[in-house]
């Protein structure tokens, strides 16, 4: 069964507002694909175009190679798991799961057999006769999954289904969802603003911002080689130093970072890094480390601002002597023990990094992510 989804130059406008700018994308059959982005970026709009709740203003959606134009919601080979789950409160668990089969005219015995099988799949055997309000949050989640799987969709659409759960349960459901996806082989399209969910479960992730795809890649590539400043700032944590290109050295680029002197970084994007271009050098907190003041390579003299204990690691905020910017440095317990003396607020410290682990990208004018809260500063309204 071909569960591939193709978006061909789809555009979605609501009046003057363009929720989705011309977007093309192919999601493979059986893939676990996530759309990751802040609220208002258009990811829910995309999902609704696939499910049929919205008709694209331009372009078309194909599922399994078939154009979906004119195919209403109830005839599409998709099933959605809603953010609030949308379980039918007046029905039992059985009736909820069997609903999609009932409206298709499947006989009672077959329906019940399917429901029993799916309840076993989601580890809820024996809960069939229960009412929805007798279930816990995690159980409701599973019923919603079973109900969606009952109609044997080729594509399962998940709209932030874990956002209502507490942290422990959320992490548990991640692995469970992934396991169900592997077992069933159904294409999963997952919408989330939680990068942890997207990175841990997905085969590929599309990062979205302001109605555009920023980057489509597997989680490792997304983290190591962000294609835009937005991705670099939104996925994981990143320190950002503004600079200007002096010279290209193959895979590397030499930068003039003003008061910080000359620095080197790894080329993140071939095209946009000509000499003289304004760029940003991105440094992950875990790639910064304390070094001796006279060490070679890339070094940044700084002064410790604060140290916070995070269990498995320490998070050190250090103010650069040159520019006054604060960088965050994440240290594993071993390193932090070795440098225990230097890690007190007010102490001088030298930060070192390997240029090969950095990324240099053209400075983009797109939405900025607030380093403190992780929220996008210029978020537009959520349009569905």
């Amino acid at each position: 069964m071909d569960g591939s989804v193709r978006l061909e130059e789809v555009v979605m406008r609501f009046g003057d507002f363009t929720a989705i700018d011309k977007t093309s994308l192919t999601i493979g059959s059986g893939e676990f694909f996530s759309f990751l982005g802040p609220s208002g970026c258009g990811k829910t709009t995309l999902l609704n175009m696939v499910s049929g709740f919205l008709t694209p203003s331009e372009g078309q959606v194909l599922i399994g190679g078939e154009p979906m134009a004119g195919v209403p919601v109830n005839r599409r080979p998709t099933a959605m798991i809603f953010q609030n789950l949308a379980l039918f409160p007046l029905m039992t668990v059985f009736d909820n799961i069997e609903f999609g089969l009932e409206v298709r005219g499947v006989d009672r015995r077959t329906r019940r057999a399917t429901a029993e099988r799916l309840l076993a799949l989601v580890a809820l055997e024996g809960s069939g006769p229960k009412r929805i309000d007798e279930l816990s949050g995690g159980q409701k989640q599973r019923v919603a999954i079973a109900r969606a799987l009952a109609v044997e969709p080729r594509v399962l659409l998940l709209d932030e289904p874990l956002s209502a759960l507490d942290l422990k349960l959320r992490q548990h459901m991640r692995s469970e969802l992934k396991a169900i996806q592997r077992k069933t082989g159904i294409t999963f399209i997952y919408i989330t603003h939680d990068q942890g969910e997207a990175l841990t479960m997905s085969d590929r992730v599309a990062v979205m911002s302001a109605g555009r795809l920023q980057q489509v890649a597997d989680p490792v590539t997304l983290y190591r080689q962000p294609a835009t400043g937005f991705v670099a700032a939104f996925v994981g944590e990143n320190n950002r130093i503004e600079a200007r290109v002096i010279e290209r050295l193959g895979e590397r680029v030499r930068l003039d970072a003003g008061a910080l002197g000359e620095l080197e970084g790894r080329v993140g994007e071939e095209a946009g890094l000509g000499v003289g271009v304004e760029v940003a050098l991105y440094l992950r907190p875990e790639q910064l480390r304390p070094v001796a003041a006279d060490a070679g390579g890339m070094t940044l003299p700084a002064r410790v601002e604060s140290v916070s204990f995070e269990g498995a690691w320490l998070m050190v905020a250090a103010r650069l002597e040159g520019s006054g910017e604060v960088l965050r440095m994440q240290l594993g317990s071993e390193v932090s023990r070795r440098f225990a003396d230097a890690l007190a607020p007010g102490e001088a410290i030298t930060l070192g990094f390997d240029p090969a682990e950095t990324v240099v990208l053209p400075r983009d004018d797109g939405p900025r992510v607030d380093a403190e809260t992780g929220e996008v500063v210029e978020a537009s309204d959520e349009h569905r």
Binding site: S51, F53, P72, V73, N74, R75, T78, A79, M80, F82, N84, A86, L87, F88, P89, L90, F99, G100, E102, V103, R104, E134, R147, A148, A150, V151
Partner: protein, 268 residues
Amino acid sequence: MSSQRLLGWGLRFYVVVFFGYLFLPLAIMAAATFNDSRFPTVTPWDGTTLRWFGELAEDGAMWQALANSALVAVGVLLLAVPIGIATALFLNTVSSRAKPFLYALILSPLLTPGVIIGISTLIFWRQWGVGGGIFLTVVGQATFIAAYVMLMVTARLQRFDRTLERAALDLGATPWQAFRRILLPFLKPAILSAGVIAFLQSFENYNTTLFVVGYDTTLTVYIASKVRTGLTPAVNALGLILILVTVLLAAAYEFKRRREAARLVKGV
């Protein structure tokens, strides 16, 4: 005496007066049923009797009026409830600026005096050669009773989670199936209440009915006519019976509701 105790006594006094105000007329009316007097009164007490029940039973015109009232009420129920539901559903989908206007338009029969509704119904239908009678009574009453139904259904509809409907469609239901299996069961309690209210509103209506009932007669119109031609305690007997029936039905409903609530608590 402390001010708190004074307040306590004041409250008790108020409650007694309040319930006296509500129920004393009913008690006197009921008592008059058993007075062996030609007039519905308790003073003077001319001896205790049950004969007014007998006279009531023999009053053929009254029984005919009662049957008519019931017929009209059922007719109104069948006409006003679907109209009220449909209007509520329609208004719920309207999001334009016309909504408050439409809302006011549909509620206007509630604010219009019943007499005016009666007269205008009569005038309107006379153009098509339809005169007063049972049919016109049903139509006339339904105009404003449908608005009650609409209000009650709308109140429930506003608590409906629309994603449930979307979920049903997404799972393959046709719009009709989604309505019948998801929305309608949700609205059921409101629809049942609206049905009861519609029936009672119709049954007790006088103002509108008087103008559109023509040569037929309903219970309220019949009783009013008796006031002019000479009221006997037989009417009190009828009132007593209606009160008892109402109380019994209300008690039965409350009993059933409590049993269901208890079952829910036990989680059976």
